[in-house]
Symmetry: C2
Subunit: 120 residues, 2 copies
C-alpha cells in the first residue's frame, strides 16, 4: 500500500521540538520531520551526509568556517565530517533525509540527543 | 564549501521536461529536480526506492493497483519493485531523491529514457 505524505498534516501531528519523527523509509535512509527552535549542539556525522529542507521558518546552520541560512523552499546537504550547529530564532519546520544508522548528535551526547525516533 | 539550494532559482535554470537535473549528492543518492508534463512510461526499479516531492503543480503516480495524486508539499516513496507511471496534465516541478545507480526508466528503454543527468 503506497500512501502519500502531506507535510502540513504531518507537522500537525506533533508539537515537541528537536525530536525528529520518521515519516518514510527510503532505501537505507529515513525521511524525518522535525520542529526546531533555539540552538542545537555542535556535532558532526563521520560517515553520513545529511539533507535539510526547510518547510517553514528560517534556519541557520552554523559551521566552523561559515554558515548557511535557509528559508522555505531551500535546502542544503551537510557533508559527512562537517561540524555544524542548527540555530532557529523562531520555530522551524524541517524535513531531514539521512541514513538510518545515523546518530542524532554524532559522537556528542547532550540533553537533546534522541536515541529512538517515533514514527508518525 | 557548503552552499544552499534554492528551489525556485534552480527550476529557473532549465525548461526541458522529463530530464532530471542533479542538484546535490547525498550519500549514495542524488537529489534531482525535474519538470514533467504528460505521461511517462510504465516502469519499475527492482532495487531502488524512489522519493517524489511535488514543489509545483499536481502529479498523479499511477500504479497497477491504484494511484496517488500529489500537490505542492506532498511526497511519496515508490518502493522498489512497484510498477508506476507518473502523469501530469499541466507542468509539474518535482524533486526526486533516488540512488545514484538507478536507471531512469528501469528495464524499459523509451524515447524519454535519459542515460546521463546534467548538473545544475
Amino acid at each position: 500500500m503506497v500512501t502519500k505524505i502531506n507535510l502540513v498534516e504531518k507537522f500537525g501531528c506533533f508539537t515537541d521540538q528537536w525530536s525528529p519523527k520518521i515519516v518514510a523509509d527510503l532505501n537505507d535512509s529515513h525521511v524525518k520531520l522535525a520542529k526546531v527552535q533555539g540552538e542545537f549542539v555542535w556535532h558532526q556525522h563521520a560517515e553520513e551526509d545529511e539533507l535539510f529542507i526547510v518547510v517553514r521558518g528560517v534556519l541557520t546552520i552554523e559551521m566552523r568556517d561559515g554558515q548557511v541560512t535557509l528559508g522555505p523552499g531551500e535546502l542544503v546537504v551537510i557533508p559527512r565530517g562537517v561540524e555544524h550547529r542548527p540555530v532557529a530564532r523562531e520555530e522551524v519546520h524541517l524535513m531531514l533525509i539521512e541514513p538510518k544508522a545515523i546518530r542524532h548528535t554524532g559522537e556528542v551526547v547532550s540533553q537533546r540527543t534522541v536515541h529512538e525516533y517515533a514514527r508518525i
